[in-house]
């Protein structure tokens, strides 16, 4: 079946602009994660959605970052007033949720802020 998809695959923007990154999880997966990976660095947790529970936003680096998950499926990560340090690969992962723990990662969106 279809895996996790993300769009766009690449995004180049100017400093100060807003960007939206999209994640389509695997159908039926209740858990959805956003991670950020800077060049040569590890996976930095950003936000976690689990079913209808309030999202865990503890990893968002500033109030310029926000994320929504509509209808328990598609998620959008929004970065307002982008800064050069926001440049990274943004990875989305989904999981079937409670009772099954494997995360399936999407291909990522490479964001470059000029």
């Amino acid at each position: 079946g279809a895996g996790v998809s993300q769009s766009p695959s690449n995004k180049v923007t100017e400093k100060g602009k807003d960007v939206e990154l999209r994640c389509d999880p695997i159908s039926g997966h209740t858990a959805l994660y956003w991670y950020r990976q800077s060049l040569g660095q590890g996976l930095e947790f950003l936000i976690y959605f689990q079913g209808n529970s309030a999202p865990d936003k503890s990893g968002l680096p500033s109030d310029r970052f926000s994320a929504e998950r509509t209808g328990g499926s598609v998620s959008t990560l929004t970065i307002q007033r982008t800064q050069q340090e926001d440049s990274a690969v943004y990875l989305c992962a989904s999981s079937p949720g409670q009772g099954a723990l494997t995360q399936y990662f999407g291909p990522g969106t490479r964001l470059t802020v000029l």
Binding site: Y33, Q41, L91, G97, Q98, L101, T102, Q103, F105, G108
Partner: protein, 111 residues
């Protein structure tokens, strides 16, 4: 609390063994291991639940010592395809807790 991985990088010759460690300062519910090849997304290897579980996957196995709050990934008779960055992820409280990943261990296998 981000888990700590060691070593940060390993260079091996094909056929040699390696151990990658992952430790946490907090009590752990589970430990997850992923491998990421350059330019690709991380790929799941295995999950270990509390209870001193040990798992194996071909020549890649792992152990989880919940009392010591640490896990080790064992790669035996390494193959060129094992090259990549290995990440451990930890869940602290329960099955619905978020997963926090370590900074990764870069493994390079030489022919």
């Amino acid at each position: 609390q981000q888990p700590v991985q060691s070593p940060q990088a390993v260079i091996l010759r094909e056929g040699e063994d390696a151990v990658i460690n992952c430790s946490s300062s907090k009590a752990l519910y589970s430990v997850h291991w992923y491998r990421q090849k350059h330019g690709e997304a991380p790929v799941f290897l295995m999950i270990l639940l509390k209870g001193g579980e040990q798992k194996g996957h071909e020549k890649i196995s792992a152990s989880f010592n919940e009392k010591k709050q640490q896990s080790s990934l064992y790669l035996t008779a390494s193959q060129l395809s094992y090259s990549g960055t290995y990440f451990c992820g930890t869940e602290q409280r329960n099955r619905d807790d978020k997963i926090i990943f370590g900074k990764g261990t870069r493994l390079h296998i030489l022919p």
